[in-house]
Amino acid sequence: MAPLPVALQEAIERGELTPEQLRQLITLEAEELGLTFDEAVKLARERRLPKTALGADLELLVQLLPA
């Protein structure tokens, strides 16, 4: 996976992500799987993402979004 943008990486290290940065992180992880944000959210909620650490992380991040 490509390095995260510096601002996003720093926000993760501070534990202070904005809602926009959360969506950005989900988008970047989704792209790593060849998916769009919307596709990743749908598949995550259906438990159909790859059973890998990346897929697991995406599923957990999607749980942070409003239903």
């Binding site: 996976m1 490509a2 390095p3 995260l4 990486q9 993760i12 290290e13 534990g15 202070e16 992500l17 809602p19 959360l22 992180l25 992880e29 909620r45 259906e46 438990r47 790859p50 059973k51 890998t52 650490a53 990346l54 697991a56 992380d57 995406l58 599923e59 957990l60 991040l61 749980q63 942070l64 979004l65 409003p66």
Partner: protein, 187 residues
């Protein structure tokens, strides 16, 4: 007393700090990070190496194995105003070096999708079970486990996989942490 804080972020920091202290004295100095979501009153706590959602590789008696720990917790506001964390989901994965998928996946999903009636706390992995007349992959089943604390996964890594502990006091540290979460951290 539960894992609480004055705010969602404060409770999350308490949780993150606790996990990282336990990790650093048992199997790895690689820390977990917190991603808060004030909108939903939830947090994610997970390993996150620079640029990727992955944990460290542990040196075991069976080669290098990468560990991923991730949890989502929800904050509930108590009568005294403090935020108390409860587990919504967890994923604990162990992936041998070079493997395309985890060998073992402990998972908890508090609210599965509609129609999913399987055990919410389960273990899966790409291994075949020789049932009479059939061979069934554990990935196609949801082997019941009960709630698995992350401390138990660390204990498994040390005792069964042969990871060299970072402290001679590792057993007591895991016991104390496990007891604390059994009594203080509800799920």
């Amino acid at each position: 007393m539960a894992i609480t804080g004055r705010s969602l972020r404060d409770a999350a920091e308490n949780f993150r700090g606790h996990i990282n202290r336990v990790l650093a004295q048992t199997v790895t100095r690689t820390p977990v990070f917190v991603i808060p979501a004030e909108e939903t009153h939830r947090i994610q706590v997970a390993f996150r190496l620079p640029g990727q959602p992955a944990g460290p590789q542990l040196v075991t008696g069976f080669g290098r194995i990468r560990v991923y720990l991730g949890q989502v917790c929800e904050s509930e506001r108590r009568a005294d105003g403090r935020h108390e964390l409860r587990t919504v989901e967890y994923r604990y994965y162990l992936t041998p070096e070079g493997a395309e998928q985890p060998l073992l996946r402990w998972e908890y999903i508090r609210a599965p999708e509609a129609g999913a009636l399987w055990c919410r706390h389960h273990l899966q992995g790409p291994m075949n079970l020789p049932l009479p007349g059939h061979v069934v992959s554990l990935n196609d089943l949801h082997l019941p486990t009960g709630y698995v604390a992350f401390e138990e996964v660390l204990r498994f890594c040390i005792v069964d996989l042969g990871v060299r502990p970072l402290s001679d006091a590792w057993d007591g540290i895991l016991r104390d942490s496990y007891e604390r979460f059994k009594t203080e951290f509800t799920q």
